[in-house]
C-alpha cells in the first residue's frame, strides 16, 4: 500500500514539515486516542484505589476498616502481577480459540514499546484492560467483608481471575465466542458486573452471615468515607465507559454523557423510593442508587442515546432497589455490601435492555441503531445467552474455587477474631488511633 509516486512522497514529507504533530501518526498511532486511554486508565484505577476501597471501607465497622482497604489494595497488587504473567494473554492473547487467548503473550512477550493495538500502543490497551481486571474482583469484596481470612481471600482472588475473569473477558472482548455472536457489552455489564455479582452471591452463601447481621450494631462506621468513595466512582466511571470506546471520539462522548445521566437517574430513583418508604431520602441510598445506575448503563453505554440513558438509570435503579431489600429482608443473605443486587442485577438489567434501547426507532429514546443483521428480538436472544452462560459459568466456577480454598486453608476467621475485628487479627493495625 506504499505510495510510490514521487510527487506524493514529496507532498507527504512536506506535510510532515508543516505539521510536525503528524509525525507521530506514522505507524498508525493516534495520539488523541492514546491520550484519552492513558487518562481513562488512570480514571479506572482511581475507581478502585481509592474509590471503591473507600466506598466499601466506610460501610463496615471501625474494627474492620483497614482490612477492607487492604483487601481492595492487595487485590489490585496481585491481579497486576498475574495480569503481566498470564492474565493479559489469557484474555487478549493471539490464540485462535474462541475460548481463551492462549499463552502467546504470557510475560507480555512481544508487547514492546513498538507494539500497537488498533491505533493506540498495546501497552496502553493492556494497562486499560488491567484496570478492569482489578476492579472486578475488588467489587466482590463487598460480599465477604468483616469475616474472611486474608490469605484465603488472596488465593480466591487469583484463582477466580484465572478461571473466571480472564476467560470471560476473552469470550466477550478478546475475540471469543460471545463477541463473535454479537453480544453487546460495551464496558462490562456481563464481564465485570454480572461476574462480580454472581461470585459475591456464592461467597455470601458459603461464608454465612456476620455476627450481628441485621442489627443496629452493624451500621456503617463512616458514611463520609463511603460518600467520598462513591463520588470517585462516579468520576472514574467516565474512564470506565467512555474509555471503552478506545478513542476520543463521538462514541466516547455519548458514552460519557449517558453514563452520567444514568448515574443521576439511579440516584434519584433511590432517593424517591426511600422517601416514599421511609419519609426521608437517605444519603447511602442515594449513592447506592448512583452505583446501580452506573452498573446498569455500563453494557449499554455505547448503544443508547441520552434519553435511553435516563431510562436505563431509572429502571436499573428501581429493580436494584427492590432486589436489595428482598435479598436482605426476606432471604436474609448477608451479601454484606449488596454486590449482587446492585452490580449483578444492574449489569444483567442493562445487558438485556441494551437489546431494546440500541434501536434507532424509539423516537426520543432511540439509540445508535441495531447492529447489522440484528433485530431487537435476535439481539435480545444473544444478550440472554450471554447473561445466562456467563452467570452460570461464574456461579459454578466460583463455587468450586470457594470449596477448594475452603478445604485447603479455610475461609472464615474464628468467632473471637470476628469480635476483635480483622484489622487487628489479620494485619496488626488499627484504622484510627485518634
Amino acid at each position: 500500500m506504499k505510495p510510490n509516486s514521487k510527487l506524493i512522497t514529496g507532498l507527504v514529507s512536506t506535510a510532515l514539515i508543516l505539521f510536525p504533530g503528524l509525525a507521530l501518526a506514522q505507524d498508525g498511532l493516534n495520539g488523541a486516542n492514546t491520550s484519552w486511554i492513558l487518562t481513562s486508565t488512570a480514571l479506572v484505577l482511581f475507581m478502585t484505589l481509592p474509590g471503591l476501597s473507600l466506598f466499601y471501607a466506610g460501610l463496615v465497622r471501625t474494627k474492620n476498616v483497614l482490612s477492607v482497604l487492604m483487601q481492595c489494595f492487595s487485590i489490585a497488587v496481585v491481579i497486576s502481577i498475574v495480569w503481566l504473567l498470564v492474565g493479559y494473554s489469557i484474555a487478549f492473547g493471539p490464540s485462535e480459540s474462541a475460548w481463551w487467548g492462549g499463552l502467546g503473550k504470557a510475560f507480555f512477550s512481544g508487547v514492546d514499546a513498538g507494539a500497537m493495538s488498533g491505533d493506540i500502543p498495546e501497552t496502553v490497551f493492556a494497562a486499560f484492560q488491567m484496570t478492569f481486571a482489578i476492579i472486578t474482583p475488588a467489587l466482590i469484596v463487598g460480599a465477604f467483608v468483616e469475616r474472611i481470612k486474608f490469605c484465603s481471600m488472596l488465593a480466591f482472588t487469583v484463582l477466580w481471575a484465572l478461571l473466571v475473569y480472564f476467560p470471560v473477558a476473552n469470550w466477550v472482548w478478546g475475540g471469543g465466542w460471545l463477541g463473535q455472536m454479537g453480544l453487546i457489552d460495551f464496558a462490562g455489564g456481563t464481564v465485570v458486573h454480572l461476574t462480580a455479582g454472581v461470585a459475591a452471591l456464592v461467597l455470601a452463601l458459603e461464608l454465612g452471615k456476620r455476627d450481628g447481621f441485621l442489627t443496629a450494631s452493624v451500621v456503617p462506621h463512616n458514611l463520609t468515607m463511603s460518600f467520598t468513595g462513591a463520588a470517585m466512582l462516579w468520576v472514574g466511571w467516565f474512564g470506565f465507559n467512555a474509555g471503552s470506546a478506545l478513542a476520543a471520539d463521538n462514541a466516547a462522548g455519548m458514552a460519557l454523557y449517558v453514563t452520567h445521566t444514568s448515574a443521576a437517574a439511579g440516584a434519584l430513583t433511590w432517593m424517591v423510593l426511600d422517601w416514599f418508604k421511609f419519609g426521608k431520602a437517605s444519603g447511602l441510598g442515594a449513592i447506592t442508587g448512583m452505583v446501580a445506575g452506573l452498573a446498569t448503563i455500563t453494557p449499554a453505554a455505547g448503544s443508547v442515546g441520552p434519553m435511553g440513558g435516563l431510562l436505563l438509570g431509572l429502571i436499573g435503579g428501581v429493580i436494584c432497589y427492590f432486589v436489595t431489600i428482598y435479598m436482605k429482608q426476606r432471604l436474609k443473605i448477608d451479601d454484606s455490601l449488596d454486590v449482587f443486587p446492585v452490580h449483578g442485577i444492574g449489569g444483567l438489567t442493562g445487558t438485556l435492555l441494551a437489546a431494546i434501547l440500541v434501536s434507532g426507532g424509539l423516537g426520543v429514546f432511540s439509540g445508535t441503531g441495531m447492529p447489522d443483521g440484528m433485530t431487537v428480538g435476535s439481539q435480545f436472544v444473544v444478550q440472554l445467552i450471554g447473561v445466562v452462560t456467563i452467570g452460570l459459568y461464574t456461579g459454578v466456577l466460583t463455587w468450586v474455587i470457594v470449596k477448594i480454598v475452603s478445604a485447603v486453608m479455610g475461609l472464615r476467621i474464628g468467632a473471637d477474631e470476628e469480635q476483635v475485628g480483622l484489622d487487628i487479627t489479620e494485619h496488626d493495625e488499627k484504622g484510627y488511633s485518634m
Binding site: 441485621l214 442489627t215 443496629a216 451500621v219 456503617p220 426511600d274 418508604k277 421511609f278 426521608k280 437517605s282 447511602l284 441510598g285 447506592t288 432497589y321 436489595t324 431489600i325 436482605k328 429482608q329 449488596d338
Partner: protein
C-alpha cells in the same frame, strides 16, 4: 466534698458551664457519653432497612465542689440544662473523700 455528675443534652453544656462558673466553680470535666433512657433513640436507614439506635449522644459533666455549695450548684445545673423535654438527663451526687491538686499537692477544698 461532693462530686456532682450531670448527664445532659450536648448542646446544653455551654449554658451549664456558664451558670456554674458564675457560682464560682472554677473547674469541671466533660466526657462525651451515650445515654439510654426513656427518650427514644432515632431510626437509621441502611439501604432499604431501618435500625433503631437506642443510645443517644449525651454529655457528662463532673464537678467537684465543697459540701456546702453542692445543693446550690445542683439546682443551677438543673435549671440551665432543663428544656422540659424527655431526655434532659440526670444529676448524680456522690461523696468525695479526698481531692488533690496535682500541681501543688494541695488537698481538700483548697484543691478545688
Amino acid at each position: 466534698m461532693k462530686l456532682i455528675v450531670a448527664i445532659i443534652k450536648p448542646y446544653k453544656s455551654d449554658d451549664v458551664r456558664e451558670v456554674v462558673s458564675e457560682l464560682g466553680v472554677s473547674g469541671m470535666t466533660l466526657t462525651e457519653v451515650k445515654g439510654f433512657g426513656r427518650q427514644k433513640g432515632h431510626t437509621e436507614l441502611y439501604r432499604g432497612a431501618e435500625y433503631v439506635i437506642d443510645f443517644l449522644p449525651k454529655v457528662k459533666l463532673e464537678i467537684a465542689v465543697e459540701d456546702d455549695r453542692a445543693d446550690q450548684i445542683v439546682e443551677a445545673i438543673c435549671k440551665a440544662a432543663n428544656t422540659g423535654k424527655i431526655g434532659d438527663g440526670k444529676i448524680f451526687v456522690c461523696s468525695l473523700e479526698q481531692t488533690i491538686r496535682i500541681r501543688t499537692g494541695e488537698t481538700g477544698n483548697d484543691a478545688l
